[in-house]
Amino acid sequence: MTSTHHMLRTAPKGALSEALLALDDLKRSAQRVGLAWSRAWHDVVARYRGSILGPFWITLSMGVMVLGIGLLYAQLFRLPVGEYMPFVALGIVLWGLISTTMTESCDTYVQAAGMLRQTALPLFIFTLRTIFRNLINLAHHAVIIVAVVAIYGYWKVMDLPVALLGLALVVANIGWMGLVVSIAAARFRDVPQIVGSFMQFAVFMTPVFWKPDAIPERHAILILNPFYYLLQAVRAPLLGETTVNGTYLFLVIMALVGWTGALALFSITRRRIVHYL
């Protein structure tokens, strides 16, 4: 059910008009951003209904993990806890945002099948819903960030504006990645497993738990790893460190190239997504 006042649906008229229709989907989604937000908010509320801590359950379990890994790995790596704990805390929280957005994007369209099959709702609304839901969760996990920054005195050296800019670039990038994953997962049912294993592999290949200075500078595992830049863009300024030269430029270019590719895929598959489900 929807209240469109004028609706026109035509047969495909070439690649350019399909691309414009894809952009129009984005525009209409932006107009109904309230629906995406209310759905995202409901998802969070619904998931934790009946529990006292609500979404803070995940925050709590994440906090316990940070504490455990922070204390143990500081010993293993022979690093001062005051240096390693904030590092790993930020790593785990940010990785959680990236990784959960990717795995949950697999359900973006599958979950919305009922709505997509009988309304003129634009598709991108549901991608926004997944992103918003993860940002709401991040806002809860921010408690962990605030705690380590306060306890270990990093508020004296941190550069909050740059960290927020970094976060904006992270969101811009996980946005297009999420769109690609959601379309692929609607089309191929083995994509969720592939994404799951890939993210698990990536967490070990990316300096989430280990510090990048433990391996030679400009090692391929760092400079060729997009997740490294995503993490560093937010973590480094919060720890008062400088990022590798060109991190932000890299993220801007990745967002532009990524969105171009993702929108190309979206304009090719847009008409068929509802039939994939």
């Binding site: 209240s3 469109t4 609706m7 099959r117 009988q118 083995d190 039939h275």
Partner: protein, 245 residues
């Protein structure tokens, strides 16, 4: 202005078999070089072919036809969910598609939450729903149960709530897949009146049904679908001729 204009509408569905849904099989096909499965490609089903339809304010169209003849597909195309492979679909006016009452409903949320969830999908703002909430909850007759999760409701209670929300919108074009009959006898009477009212206010009704009496009662025009091919739009008084044809 309220109007529906469908010109030369053709809809083809890709139907993806089990193998076609596997990315691994797609990749294997490329690397091995040969086709592993016989059904690796999607089959296409032509669900609607060359449909033409012009409806204006006051038109009540009944869609008849066997199972799989394309009635629901046509309704979905009119709702804007399915995009044409050929031709065009144009609708002027606010559309209410009452194809599935469970649209946008979450069984774990309370009745009240579900009114908001469903209302938002229908395009109402939170404030607009605030304004209608009393009317909706009163009509549903669920009273204190609205504070309970929907999953604790009986099927009839769930249907009452869904019906109350779905019909609380202002619409110019009402799309319905079979007449909605919910609840006990008493509720059915009020539900019937409410639906009548919604349709009376709407400019156009498109109703797909197997119940010819219903079609006779509500529609002034009728169209028969056979394997995705449509008959002429016929006056309801000539329904028997259409059936005989």
């Amino acid at each position: 202005m309220v109007a529906i204009s469908v010109q030369e509408l053709t809809l083809r569905f890709p139907v993806y078999g089990v193998d076609a849904k596997s990315l691994k099989k797609h990749v294997a096909r490329v690397t091995v070089g040969g086709r592993l499965g016989m059904h690796a490609h999607a089959t296409h089903v032509t669900a609607l072919s060359n449909i033409n339809l012009e409806l204006n304010a006051g038109d009540r169209l009944g869609l008849i036809g066997h199972n799989g003849s394309g009635k629901t597909t046509l309704l979905r195309a009119l709702s804007g969910a399915y995009e044409p492979n050929e031709g065009r679909v144009e609708v002027f006016g606010r559309i209410a598609s009452l194809l599935d009452l469970n649209l946008g409903i979450d069984p774990t949320a309370t009745g009240l939450d579900n009114i908001y969830l469903r209302g938002r999908v229908a395009g109402l703002s939170a404030r607009e729903i605030d304004g209608r909430i009393d009317e909706i909850s009163e009509f549903s007759g669920l009273g204190p149960f609205l504070a309970m999760p929907l999953k604790t409701y009986s099927a009839g209670m769930q249907a009452r709530l869904a019906f109350a929300v779905a019909t609380s919108v202002e619409a110019d074009v009402v799309l319905m897949d079979e007449w909605i009959a919910v609840g006990d006898e008493e509720f059915q009477t009020t539900a019937h009146a409410r639906l009548d009212d919604l349709i009376a206010r709407a400019g156009i009704l498109v109703l797909a049904s197997h119940n010819l009496e219903l079609i006779r009662g509500y529609c002034n025009k009728v169209m028969r679908l056979t394997g995705g091919v449509a008959s002429e739009v016929t006056d309801i008084r000539r329904l028997d001729d259409l059936l005989a044809a």
